[in-house]
Structures are given as structure tokens and as C-alpha cells.
């Protein structure tokens, strides 16, 4: 079975995630339909607890939906085994977390190369790829630094480099600037802009409307469901800093 819409890299239909039972039932995600086109930057925004992070986890195969279908590059993925999901995360999806989730005992380049090593790439290939990505995110000179020796913005750039190491079809970012100051936020947004320019598909979850405004398209969530969708003309192709209100 394959997806009929050839332009969507990521697609979900009737997606639902429930916790608890009967009176205690909570629908974190409630019947969500979403399509993400190749090369598109989609922002999912909404207040805390509206289900946007849960949606991201479902789309990335980190959690299983209670109902609904998820398709990645024409392949249905919501029914995959844990093993196949692991392969999917390894080869098809890159994650960026709000808390960075870097291994504190590994230095920057070792953190970036980790997914490649997990996918069975040779140590030499992984190191070369990780070094190139650190160079791309502007941290070539910080490759041997431990996370504790890096600023928040630098840590998040390491995390973004790590998300890109498997050359994923989609990068899913969960509040990527939530722990960063304005300057670091701007650095990260510029990085996303360059990824967008290079044709990378991005899904960014954020509760900050200024960050959401940098995307091609913005979806608002409330109580687990989509309540609004806006196509943005400026997006990441415009004057990013001015649009986001992060400068001056």
C-alpha cells in the first residue's frame, strides 16, 4: 500500500493519541490530518499541553498512535515493528529536542557521529560526516568540546548537526529554541533557514509565535486538534531576524 499524494513527504490521517480510560481518558492528539510537502517548513504552534509535542513524537515514531495512519515518503509507518521504526528514525527522520539531549560524556563530534555509528556506518565515515556537519553549523572549532563546555545555542547546533547526520527526509524539532536566549535563537533560526534553502523538510513545534512566523506554513493546535492553518508568505526566505522580532 502506498500514499497516492506524491508531493507529501510526511502525511497523517485521523491521528489520535489517548491516555487513560473512561472518565480519566485524555486525548492528547484528537483526529489530526496533516501533509508536509518536500522542502517545506511547517510550524506547529499552540499553548503548553495542547498536544503538539505528542504529535511530533507520533510523526517521528517515538510513540505509537491510538488510531490513525502515518505515511513517510509513501510508506505507511504507524504499524511498523519497533525494529523497523528504529531504522526509520535512523534513516528517515532527524530529531532536535528542546533540552538538546546530548550525551554529556561525549564531545561534540562524538555526539554528532553517534546516529551514524548506530546505523552501522564505519567509524571513519561517521567521523568525516560529523566533522563536515559541525563545520556546516559553524562549530568546527568546538568539535572536541564537551556539551558542558558549550553555550546553549552551540549545544542546539550540535543537536541539529546530529539530526542531519543520517541525511533524513524530515527533521522534527521540538521547541528547538525553548531553552535559548535571543541571540542563540537567531543562530538556530538562521541554521534552519539554510537547511530550508537546501531543500530540507522541517517540522518545528513551538509555542513562540515569532518562531512559527518564520515557517512556510503554520498550524495552530488546541486541545489536541488543529484549529487554524496559515500559509506564510515571508517565511524563512524573508528577513528572518526582523520578521521574528529578534533584532533591534
Amino acid at each position: 500500500m502506498s500514499d497516492t499524494d506524491g508531493t507529501s513527504v510526511l502525511r497523517a490521517r485521523g491521528l489520535r493519541k489517548e491516555y487513560g480510560k473512561q472518565a480519566g481518558l485524555v486525548r492528547a492528539v484528537d483526529g489530526v490530518d496533516v501533509d508536509v510537502a518536500a522542502g517545506e517548513t511547517l510550524a506547529v504552534t499552540g499553548p503548553s499541553g495542547c498536544g503538539k509535542s505528542t504529535l511530533l513524537h507520533l510523526l517521528g515514531g517515538l510513540d505509537r498512535p491510538s488510531a490513525g495512519e502515518i505515511w513517510l515518503a509513501g510508506r505507511r509507518v504507524d504499524q511498523l515493528s519497533e525494529r523497523a521504526l528504529a531504522r526509520l528514525r535512523r534513516d528517515g527522520i532527524g530529531f532536535v529536542f528542546q533540552a538538546f539531549h546530548l550525551m554529556e560524556e561525549l564531545n561534540a563530534v562524538e555526539n554528532v557521529e553517534l546516529p551514524a555509528l548506530l546505523s552501522g556506518r564505519s567509524a571513519r565515515w561517521a567521523r568525516r560526516r560529523a566533522s563536515a556537519l559541525l563545520d556546516q553549523v559553524g562549530l568546527a572549532d568546538r568539535a572536541r568540546h564537551l556539551p558542558s563546555q558549550l553555550s546553549g545555542g552551540q549545544r542546539q547546533r550540535v543537536a541539529i548537526a546530529r539530526a542531519l547526520v543520517g541525511d533524513p527526509r524530515v527533521v522534527l524539532a521540538d521547541e528547538p529554541t525553548g531553552n535559548l536566549d535571543s541571540e542563540a535563537t537567531l543562530d538556530v533560526l538562521r541554521l534552519f533557514e539554510s537547511l530550508h534553502d537546501a531543500g530540507q523538510t522541517l517540522v518545528i513545534v513551538t509555542h513562540d509565535p515569532r518562531i512559527a512566523a518564520t515557517a512556510d506554513r503554520m498550524i495552530s493546535m488546541r486541545d489536541g486538534a488543529f484549529v487554524d492553518e496559515t500559509r506564510l508568505t515571508g517565511g524563512t526566505t524573508g528577513n528572518l531576524g526582523a520578521l521574528a522580532g529578534l533584532e533591534g
Binding site: 517515538l62 510513540d63 525494529r83 528504529a86 528514525r89 535512523r90 560524556e105 557521529e113 553517534l114
Partner: protein, 620 residues
């Protein structure tokens, strides 16, 4: 008083919140204290059955052996009727100062006993049908000697596997076993010669006949058997003294002292026979003493791993206690009190278990009558056991308690998890390994102390196992007495070693579970992250298992030389026995498989929890 109550309340609540951990800890320390109690309880208990046997058989205070009429040829009548010398000599012994009664002289000769393919050299004593005044063996089955009927010492009969009514041959002559009996005049099979017997194997005796048994026949049958021997047998005279306590001095004085002339009778005091009786459990005492130490070390490892595994939780609790006004002293007291309470309960349980189990392993065997009963728990024994239990608990929790007391409130509240260590060399090395080994090696690198503790625990277990195997290797020769008979001492030793092995393995299993559980908890975040980055659940589980197996392999390999060394140190002879390579490989492989299986449970549980949930929880 308020503080004591507060500490008590906090301890009770925490124990109630974590009952499984408390029970596991209790079991670990209980096992160690029970083994220690058994070891201590064995001292002295063997003397009770010997005294009971001495009482019911009117056992001698001194056993004297006088030479037979060397010059006299074996005539049809034999001594003493036709050779009055032994009789006169016996009477002379009876007239010695302090002697109140005697029996004998009884002709003693040797013969080869054969039954169902088994053959054993046997010391034969010719006895009258009438009861003797001194040393009348207590018949426990059947009847006393009769023409053509032999009575076998009970332990010897058990080793042969014969009972009343069975037929045996003595030097080829058929005899019927008419009874089984016990005596206090001689040490039961296979230790009869431990008090020094002038034993010569008869012509045609089987090879390797170092452990003779004892049988009683009629005087005429004994003469007939002695007639087949080239050298006439000696005579035994049993003496009762006015003061039994002087038996050894008497034997020394009238037995010719340290340099006896050839004509002097060989004499043995009852104390020497009683000591030789205790040989039955001497090995057990050694095994239990060593076992108690090994179990103690394992218990320390258990407590240390448990305490370490709960460090993050404890640190947060410490932060909370300090935030509401708890002093560093109070914080340390709570941590210490928790394990001390468990240790005291375990000591009580261990003392009770040891006290109840002691009679099972101190049974006198078939060679004596009576039973040792439950050994008395003396105050020093109880004090030592409680002291060891407390030392185990304190040794493992003092460092965490001191660290908790020193931790600042803010950092304790903010970050309960200890920072992982960076081991650049191991990280670099792991990059070239398959994913499970990569993850496993990095887990080891993150928590080297825990890995060292796990390795030490396995090393102690394997040390015990290798020592047991070395014993079996040596006991292969010892297990059988003459002519393929079973050796009751070796059998009891093996039973004791089996109990000890089970206890050590059980403790090691507990430790492996603790270590795996602590490692799985500690690796929650890194495992979830690895899965988010594309590692499969199997790779993550494999990584956790590898993280346990790498130190286990090191511990198992270290345990081999330690086990050989331990056996050499405790086996008395100082002889190094190296078990076969196949056994050693089996031990190492079984250890690794066991650790892998035990780790797979917490590893699977960890891998089952959605990584998003774990990562979200760690962020919160």
C-alpha cells in the same frame, strides 16, 4: 527524642515504599549471616554424640594394643588359650594404678571383605558372645556376633551398602552379616587410622587400601582368619580409669612416652578418639568459614550496588530534607539507619536460620549414636554475627551517607543524577565495535565504579565455584575408600559444598539483578536517546547486557586464579589443584549466560517504555 522519631518515621516510610528492594537486601545479608552462624555453631557440637556413644557402650578411657606372640606359630587353637602371654599382659595392665576395670585381650587381625564387587581391608576383632565389661559395642540392628556371623561397624556397613542378612566374604570365607553396631573405642570408618593403627594389609589386599573398616566376629572365627595371616595379629585391651580425664597422661606414661620401646603396648586415650570423630565435620567447618567470608563480600557488594542504584533518588530526597531544615547529620543518619535496620533484621534471621539448620549438618553420622541437638547460640556468636551484618551495611552506605550530607541543597534538588564520567579511550575504542558492544562499553565507561563492583561480585562467586570444583577434582580420589567404597567424609563435604555453592550462586544472582537494575535505571536516558537516534530495542537491550557482561567476563577470569589460590590456602595440604580446562570454560560461559539472562529482564523493561516518555521525563 524527636529527631530519633523523625529518623525512624522516614526510615519506615522509605522501606515501605520500596519493599522489594528491602526484602532483597534482607535476603543478601541473611544468607551471609546464616552461613556464618552455621560455621560458628559447628564448633564443639560433635563431642555430644561421642559422649552419648561412650555412655551406652561403656566406652574405654584407654585402648591398649599389645603385640601377639610373635614367636608362636599359628596353631589350631591360637591365642590366648594356647598362648597365655597376651592374657598375662592384659592382667598386668589391669593392675596399673588408676585402672578400675578392663576387657580383653581381644585378638585383632585383618581380612579382605568382599561383597557385590566391592573389596575393603577390614580390621577384625574377635569378641565373646557375652557382653564385655568395657566397650560392649551397641548393636543398632540385628544381633551380636555368632559363629559364621559378622557384625559390621555401622558407617562401614553404610559405605559398603550392606545390611543385616547380607552375605559377605572375609578372606574368601563366607559370613552372614548378623548385626550392625557402633563403638566408642575406635573412630568410625573411614577415619579409624587417624588415631594411629598398626595396620598391615593382608596378602591379596586390593590396591589403595588406606581406609580400613571394622568388623566383629566370634573369637574362634577371628583365630581362623588370623591363621591365614603371615604375622599374628595383636590384642586389644580396653581400660577404664578412676579419672577418665587423665586418660591421655596415662596412655603417654604407660604406652612408653614419646619414644616407646618395641615391647611397650600402644595406648590411645578416649580424647584422641573423640578428636578423630570430629574429623567428620572439620572440613565442613573450613568450608563454612571460607563460605561465610565469600558470602559476606557478596553481601557488601549487594548493599553497595543497591545504595548506588538509589543514589539519584537519595540525592533528591537529601535535597528535600535539607530544604525543610534537615541537618547534614540528620540526612546521614536517615541513610545509615535504613540499612542498619535491614542489617539487624537480617542478622536475627540469619542467626535463626543457622541455628535451625545446624543440626542437619552436624548429625553424628552412622558411626555414633545420639544427636547433637541444636547448638547453643552463645553471646559471642550472636555478637559476631550481628557485628558482621552491621559492618556489611555500614561499609556499603558510609560513603553515600557522607556524600549526601556534604551535597549542597540546591544541587541536590536540581540534579539528582550523578554526572557520567568521560573515558575518552574507551569511547574511541567503542566506535569501531558492533552497536551492542559500542553501547555496552560506553555504559561501562560511564559508571566504572559500578562496573568494578559487578566484576568484583562475579569474581567472588567464581572464586567460590572454582574452589568447589578444585575440591571435587581432588575428592575424585578421596571419594572412594578401599575397593570403591563411598567415603562418608567426602560425601558430607560435597553436600556442604553444594549448599555453599547454592548460597553463593543465589547471592550472585541477587547481585546481578541489583547491578542490572541499577544499570538499566541509570541508562534510562541514554538508552531512550539511543533509540530516538535509531538504535533498535534489541541493540539497546544488547548494549545493556554487554555493559554487564564485560565486567562479568573480567570478574570470571579473575575468579579462576583466585579460586585455585583459595583452595590451596584452605585445603590444609597446601596442594594447588587446577580443575580441568573444560570445567573452567564451563564456569566462565555459564556465568556470562547467567548474567546475560538476568540483565535481559530489566533491559527489556527499559526498552519497552516509549523513549519519548523517558526523554520528556528527564527534561521535566
Amino acid at each position: 527524642m524527636g529527631k530519633v522519631r523523625l529518623v525512624g518515621r522516614l526510615v519506615a516510610r522509605d522501606l515501605r515504599r520500596r519493599p522489594a528492594q528491602a526484602v532483597l537486601l534482607l535476603l543478601a545479608i541473611t544468607a551471609a549471616t546464616a552461613i556464618l552462624t552455621l560455621g560458628l555453631a559447628l564448633h564443639g557440637v560433635a563431642s555430644h554424640p561421642y559422649q552419648q556413644t561412650r555412655a551406652v557402650t561403656n566406652g574405654p578411657d584407654v585402648v591398649a594394643e599389645i603385640a601377639g606372640p610373635a614367636a608362636a606359630p599359628h596353631g589350631p587353637g591360637g591365642a590366648p588359650k594356647n598362648n597365655p602371654a597376651p592374657l598375662n599382659e592384659a592382667r598386668a595392665l589391669a593392675r596399673l594404678p588408676g585402672v578400675t576395670a578392663y576387657s580383653g585381650p581381644y585378638l585383632q587381625t585383618t581380612a579382605v571383605l568382599r561383597v557385590r564387587g566391592l573389596a575393603s581391608v577390614t580390621q577384625i576383632q574377635g569378641r565373646d558372645a557375652a557382653a564385655a565389661a568395657v566397650d560392649q559395642p551397641k548393636v543398632t540392628a540385628g544381633s551380636w556376633v555368632s559363629p559364621g556371623g559378622a557384625v559390621l561397624e555401622r558407617t562401614f556397613a553404610e559405605a559398603l551398602g550392606v545390611g543385616v542378612g547380607d552375605r559377605v566374604t572375609l578372606n574368601g570365607r563366607p559370613y552372614r552379616v548378623v548385626g550392625l553396631a557402633v563403638t566408642a573405642a575406635s573412630t568410625p570408618y573411614p577415619n579409624m587410622c587417624e588415631v594411629g593403627c598398626t595396620f598391615n594389609g593382608p596378602p591379596g589386599a586390593p590396591q589403595g587400601t588406606g581406609k580400613p573398616g571394622l568388623a566383629w566376629v566370634t573369637v574362634s572365627d577371628a583365630r581362623a582368619l588370623d591363621a591365614q595371616d603371615l604375622v599374628p595379629g595383636p590384642y586389644v585391651v580396653n581400660l577404664k580409669l578412676e579419672d577418665p580425664a587423665t586418660a591421655e597422661a596415662f596412655a603417654f606414661r604407660y604406652g612408653g612416652g614419646s619414644n616407646p620401646p618395641p615391647t611397650a603396648p600402644a595406648m590411645v586415650g578416649w580424647q584422641a578418639i573423640a578428636s578423630a570423630d570430629a574429623l567428620l565435620i572439620t572440613d565442613q567447618q573450613t568450608v563454612l568459614s571460607v563460605g561465610a567470608w565469600l558470602a559476606g563480600v557478596l553481601a557488601v557488594a549487594s548493599v553497595a550496588v543497591l545504595a548506588g542504584g538509589r543514589m539519584a533518588e537519595h540525592t533528591r530526597r537529601v535535597g528535600l530534607l535539607k530544604a525543610v531544615g534537615g541537618t547534614p547529620g540528620l540526612v546521614a543518619a536517615v541513610l545509615l539507619a535504613e540499612n542498619v535496620v535491614v542489617a539487624l533484621a537480617a542478622a536475627a534471621a540469619g542467626l535463626l536460620a543457622g541455628w535451625l539448620a545446624a543440626p542437619l549438618i552436624t548429625s553424628p553420622g552412622a558411626g555414633l549414636v545420639g544427636s547433637p541437638g541444636a547448638p547453643s547460640l552463645t553471646l559471642p556468636t550472636a555478637g559476631l554475627v550481628i557485628g558482621v551484618a552491621l559492618a556489611v551495611a555500614l561499609a556499603a552506605t558510609l560513603v553515600p551517607a557522607a556524600r549526601a550530607a556534604r551535597t549542597s541543597t540546591v544541587s541536590a534538588l536540581a540534579d539528582g543524577v550523578r554526572r557520567a564520567r568521560r573515558r575518552a579511550t574507551l569511547i574511541k575504542l567503542s566506535r569501531r565495535l558492533p552497536v551492542p558492544l559500542l553501547l555496552g562499553l560506553r555504559l561501562v565507561a560511564r559508571r566504572p565504579r559500578r562496573a568494578a563492583l559487578g566484576a568484583a561480585s562475579i569474581a567472588v562467586t567464581v572464586t567460590g565455584l572454582v574452589a568447589v570444583i578444585a575440591f571435587h577434582t581432588m575428592a575424585g580420589e578421596k571419594r572412594f575408600g578401599s575397593g570403591g567404597l563411598s567415603n562418608p567424609v567426602a560425601i558430607r563435604d560435597e553436600q556442604m559444598l553444594l549448599v555453599l555453592t547454592v548460597a553463593l550462586v543465589a547471592l550472585a544472582v541477587l547481585n546481578a539483578v541489583f547491578t542490572a537494575w541499577a544499570a538499566a535505571l541509570d541508562a534510562r536516558h541514554s538508552s531512550a536517546l539511543a533509540r530516538a537516534l535509531g538504535a533498535t530495542p534489541r541493540q539497546v537491550s544488547g548494549g545493556l547486557a554487554a555493559g554487564q557482561m564485560l565486567p562479568a567476563l573480567a570478574g570470571a577470569l579473575l575468579g579462576i586464579p583466585l579460586g585455585i589460590g583459595l583452595f590451596k590456602a584452605v585445603n590444609g595440604s597446601g596442594q594447588a589443584v587446577v580443575p580441568s580446562a573444560s570445567w573452567l570454560v564451563t564456569v566462565v560461559l555459564a556465568t556470562l549466560v547467567g548474567v546475560a539472562l538476568l540483565t535481559s529482564i530489566p533491559a527489556r523493561i527499559t526498552a519497552r517504555r516509549p523513549s519519548a516518555e523517558v526523554l520528556a521525563a528527564e527534561t521535566a
